[in-house]
Amino acid sequence: MSENSLFSKGDEVSRRQFMIGAAHSYLGVSVLPMLGATVATSDTFGAAPPMRPRAAKSVIFLNMSGGMSHLDTFDPKPENKDVQGPTPVIDTSAEGVQISGFLPKTAAMMRHITLFRGMRSNQGAHEQGQYLLHRSYAPRGTIVHPALGAWVMRLSGRRNTTIPGFVAIGGSSENATGGFMGARYGGVPLGNANSGLKDSKRAHSVSKEEFDRRLSLADKMNLSFHGRFKQKQVKTYHGLYDEAINLMTSEDLKAFDIKHEDNNVRDLYGQNGFGQGCLLARRLVEHQVRFVEVNLGGWDTHNDNFVSVEARCQILDQALAGLISDLERRGLLDSTLVALGTEFGRTPDINENTGRDHFPRAFSSLMAGGGVKGGFVYGETDRKAHTVTEGIVTPGMFNATIGHALGLPTERVVTSPSGRPFTIGDEAKPVKEVFA
């Protein structure tokens, strides 16, 4: 031990970093045993057990990027036409809960949904708001915070170890970042629902036989090199080839191919990018993928808010209701948390372009399944949807609540390689009231 202290005497940061098994390797490769993301030990033994029984097993996070108007979706103010504008309001399957008339199918599903009407953020620009939404922290120049999916990977690991545990469909690939935790905890970004898992099939230019011959040649080539360098990093690198072959022949690979779905199921979600993304998310969850994000953009309605929001809502309504009902009839809704978030809401005041501008002060989000109450509303805004009067929920709290739904230790501190402490919700506590 004296040698160790000679090298970095009193260097507590690096000591800690070493202990934590920091994301960055110090020397050479630290080869990852598995694809995508996982905790070292859970590779061998499957995911870490949840902190409480019957916690949700997977999350489908629906990212409404651009800033979804709360008034025109989940927090309408029919009694106040000044702020409500022309958006209609309807009853839902949950008594006493009304939402926007643009979302009739979602209204039918309300018995499964908890609405958060007291969302509040301190970031009024898209990039910063999306950053906070996904990572619970505001952007800083000295660190890249991991996305929520990476936190889930870090705190609980993969359930299905042959395929990635964290997948992001559409939207910015930044939403799949492992941040300071490193690429191993990051997600696999898919451009869209049809793109499949990149490079997971043998190229057309190679026959099966050729493919096998190449591998066998490489194996033989490796013998002498491996003999000379009996190193873990070399051995593990080679092991990745076996794993790649496993993946290529895995049954689970089918999960990535939505063409296996009947047309009526595809219709159920809506034949558009977001709808099919939600369908893919359901397939992935059926194959025990932990965290799937699906992006729906176009909410930045500075102009013609009511026309634009209605169009967005058609897509959202079909997909969200389709997703919830499909999960339910398959018996997956209890073990799958569907969470919908956005970076901020929009101004109650309607601007001169019949639009609404950014409004982080009060907005809405929701959760369904995964053990949350159905037909429940948490939080409230004033009569103008302008200020949260009860049940403020910050993005950090929202993320901690998602963590809690999964049974993750939300207080667990993960130390960055630079020795700084972080938690899944920036120390925020989960909103436990929303759980049944």
């Binding site: 025990q288 398959r330 049974g407």
Partner: protein
């Protein structure tokens, strides 16, 4: 210091029960225990070192590589290091011999069972649900767990502080899982509370084995070939709360059988021969259960029969 002691333990293999468990139990389990001490108290750092499951899922061992395993790293730090476990003011550090044993045990693969893998023995031919119920709920048979994992099962604890309650799934191996593999679940029969057989090749015959898992509360049989006959084998499962039959060949004939599962809370019957009329009858027997037949795709009408009056339609 540690390295001198290694020679003292080199050679013969280290036995978890005889050599490792006693160290952990005397030096670590005061804090790192799965047993609830006070109400709702969790083990320190969420890490329980008194059960195989706790150690394995705690993220502290990398079998085959002690130097990359926190369990070894933390106990082998110098006395002055504040990361040392057990803490210097709380019984630490361990003796050099103890540290060396832990190192060797991890380097050898961190095996919990009795070693050779032949430890599972035979499943008693006369095992039945009553016998399983009578078995005490103890820590699961490590050899049985390893054996089942070897057959492609994923086995996990129900929760951090419930090491005796096991969830058994066939993730990514479902397509090659048959009654033969499923039968082996009986090695850990008293511990199994959840089983996911969805998409496996389980048959009605295979459900005989499942029918012996007395403490089973959750059973997923979706998208398997099972029929009414198979369900008959489940009659002894009095604790069953969740049963997923979606995409199977069952019909209304099973409903009278299911009515006897008084604890049933959720039943899924989409894409089966079960009818809405049949379910209405079952509702009388199980008024509080959620009985899901279909959520109408077109109208998105919610046809869940759990609360017929509340049906929502457009």
């Amino acid at each position: 210091m540690v390295f001198l002691a290694v020679s003292a333990v080199s050679g013969q293999s280290v036995d978890y029960k005889k050599q490792i468990a006693p160290i952990l139990s005397s030096k670590c389990n005061e804090c790192h225990t799965a047993k609830k001490r006070e109400s709702d108290k969790k083990p320190k750092a969420g890490l329980a070192l008194d059960t195989a499951g706790g150690i394995r899922s705690g993220g502290v061992i990398d079998p085959g590589d002690a130097s990359g395993s926190d369990l070894f790293i933390r106990v082998s730090l110098p006395k002055t290091d504040d990361e040392l476990m057990p803490p210097a003011d709380d019984g630490g550090p361990l003796s050099a011999k103890e540290i060396a044993l832990i190192k060797k045990w991890i380097d050898d693969g961190a095996r919990f069972g009795s070693g050779s893998g032949g430890g599972v023995g035979k499943i008693a031919a006369d095992l039945d649900v009553a016998k399983v119920m009578a078995m005490p709920l103890r820590e699961p048979n490590a050899d049985g767990v390893a054996h089942l994992e070897g057959l492609g099962a994923t086995i996990s604890q129900l929760a951090v502080n419930l090491p005796q309650h096991l969830v058994v799934e066939w993730i990514s191996t479902y397509h090659k899982t048959t009654d033969k593999e499923i039968e082996q679940i009986l090695h850990i029969a008293p511990n199994v509370v959840e089983v996911d057989l969805s998409r496996t090749k389980v048959t009605d015959e295979g459900l005989k084995h499942i029918g012996k898992l007395a403490r089973l509360t959750h059973l997923n049989l979706s998208r398997t070939q099972i029929t009414d006959k198979g369900i008959a084998h489940l009659s002894g499962l009095r604790s069953l709360e969740y049963l997923n039959l979606y995409g199977t060949g069952v019909s209304d004939a099973v409903l009278p059988m299911l009515a006897k599962h008084r604890r049933l809370k959720s039943l899924y019957t989409w894409k089966t021969k079960i009818t809405s009329e049949g379910l209405s009858k079952l509702r009388k027997a199980l008024p509080d259960a959620k009985l899901v037949l279909e959520t109408d795709a077109k109208a998105n009408r919610y046809d869940n029969l759990d609360n017929p009056d509340d049906k929502y339609d457009f």
